[in-house]
């Protein structure tokens, strides 16, 4: 006992290390879903993030709307919104046209439009600096479930990986741990869009015979249980067809500008079946 009291600090440090190793071991293979204690921590800490983001947003709004070209900014916002809506409309028309051309009229595109969208605000960003994730102000109480897709007017943003009663954590498509099944919109070649942790993604497993050129649009394939078909993922930025590699190296610029991500939409898929714990990476 005396030895313990004499070297209290050292013992406590060892206990902390042991505890952290136990935590690490216990959480291995369990995915990133929050446990009740973590949910409680998020419920406590998220209001601080919300308040901070709210204050910044109010300050920005005051500055931009009242001190900085009031009318021009409003008009610009309106036009940008219109452009975004037209982009989505254009993407849908192209999808419909290509599908019709290949006599795939039986595809039910209504499924995409019938799904309910839940608007949410980004209230926090990744605290470690090593991952690409956001925290949103909607959670289980709003009908949000793990693995539900998150989008904005530009395209796919990511998917919910942890949910608490009022908040959720969204893994962005640019994170290294994100992988989405995708298609080249023009040639219908398949691949897997993977994050790089930077502001670009890789379109992996693109076979050598695939018809893909710089500027091609990548959309979600609808395979897997998370994302609906036809959502914009990004544009092909660079292709490297090295003869000593099995697949083409395709770099993709995401459709969404993650630096300006403020409001997002969660697709509340009516027939959504969340993945089992073992299936979540």
């Amino acid at each position: 006992m005396t030895i313990f009291l004499e070297h209290r600090t050292k013992w406590v440090s060892y206990i902390f290390i042991l505890l952290s190793l136990i935590l690490l071991s216990l959480s291995i293979g369990k995915g990133r879903e929050w446990n009740p204690a973590e949910r409680l921590a998020i419920e406590i800490t998220a209001p601080f993030q919300k308040f901070f983001i709210g204050s910044i947003s109010v300050t920005k709004d005051i500055w931009k709307n009242y001190f900085f070209l009031v009318e021009t900014r409003q008009e610009n916002l309106l036009l940008n919104k219109k452009i975004n809506l037209l982009k989505i409309e254009n993407s849908r028309y192209q999808e419909l046209l290509l599908t019709n051309q290949r006599l795939q009229q039986l595809l039910n595109f209504q499924e995409n439009t019938e799904e309910a969208l839940l608007p949410a605000r980004v209230i926090g960003r990744d605290s470690s600096g090593l991952f690409k994730s956001i925290i949103i102000d909607r959670g289980k109480n709003d009908g949000l479930k793990i693995n539900m897709p998150v989008v904005n007017s530009e395209g796919a943003v990511g998917r919910a990986v942890s949910v608490s009663p009022n908040y959720a954590q969204v893994l962005l498509i640019t994170d290294q741990n994100s992988a989405i099944d995708g298609l080249v919109q023009r040639s219908r070649c398949r691949g897997m869009l993977k994050g790089r942790g930077l502001s670009e993604c890789y379109f992996d497993y693109v076979i050598k015979t695939c018809d893909i050129v710089t500027g091609d649009t990548i959309v979600t394939s609808g395979l897997g249980r998370a994302f609906p078909k036809g959502l914009y993922l990004g544009t092909v930025k660079e292709i490297n067809d090295s003869p000593d590699k099995l697949f083409k190296d395709v770099r993709v610029a995401p459709a969404v500008d993650f630096s300006k991500l403020e409001e997002i939409l969660v697709i509340l898929r009516s027939n959504f079946v969340p993945l089992r714990r073992s299936e979540i990476r």
Partner: protein
């Protein structure tokens, strides 16, 4: 009367100072991502927690530094989409290592503190990479170029003397005594 009593206690760092460090660290972890986004420096890994930890060790508050490293690690783990215990283990283990080395170091020297902060950050990156590599964690961290890691370490190290100065100012009396002793020694 009451106010002057509390001010006196503040100066003697019995109250407020350490809770203030905890509050600052907590807020930093919670708001770090948003602040980085606001300042458009998301590609940098500027971490102020090691500065506070080294400061506490320099002031012989080893126990508090251990607790702070553990709880800030847990908070980072919860707020980041990673395995629980990843940052907790990294922070606690590095801190224990520094605690063992402190016998050979003069932590009241600001240059040593700057170097220790730089070492802490470098060790954090190495630890995370090692844990990811050798533990069966099916997870990856963003491999930012080494030059950016170096820039992040450099910036964080350069922040160290300013934060130390500010903390000493807040701490009050004791730090003034240290400064006087230092001046006499020179």
């Amino acid at each position: 009367m009451e106010i002057s009593k509390y001010l006196k206690l503040w100066k003697e760092d019995r109250i407020f100072f350490y809770p203030l460090i905890w509050l600052t660290c907590g807020l930093f972890v919670i708001l770090r991502g948003s602040i980085n986004h606001l300042l458009r420096i998301e590609w940098l890994d500027i971490d102020l927690i090691p500065i506070f930890l080294i400061y506490l060790i320099a002031k012989d508050q080893n126990f508090m530094a251990g607790c702070l490293a553990f709880f800030m690690g847990i908070l980072t783990d919860i707020l980041a989409p990673c395995q629980l215990g990843l940052f907790t283990f990294a922070y606690s283990a590095i801190l224990l290592g520094i605690n063992h080395c402190r016998l050979f170091l003069d932590l009241n020297n600001i240059k040593t503190s700057i170097l220790l902060v730089a070492f802490f950050l470098l060790a954090k990156w190495s630890f995370l990479l090692i844990i990811m590599r050798f533990f069966p964690i099916r997870q990856f961290i963003s491999l930012i170029p080494f030059i950016l890691v170096f820039v992040s370490i450099l910036i964080t190290s350069l922040i160290t003397p300013f934060l130390f100065y500010f903390l000493n100012l807040l701490r009050g009396k004791e730090s003034q005594d240290h400064a006087q002793k230092g001046a006499l020694a020179v």
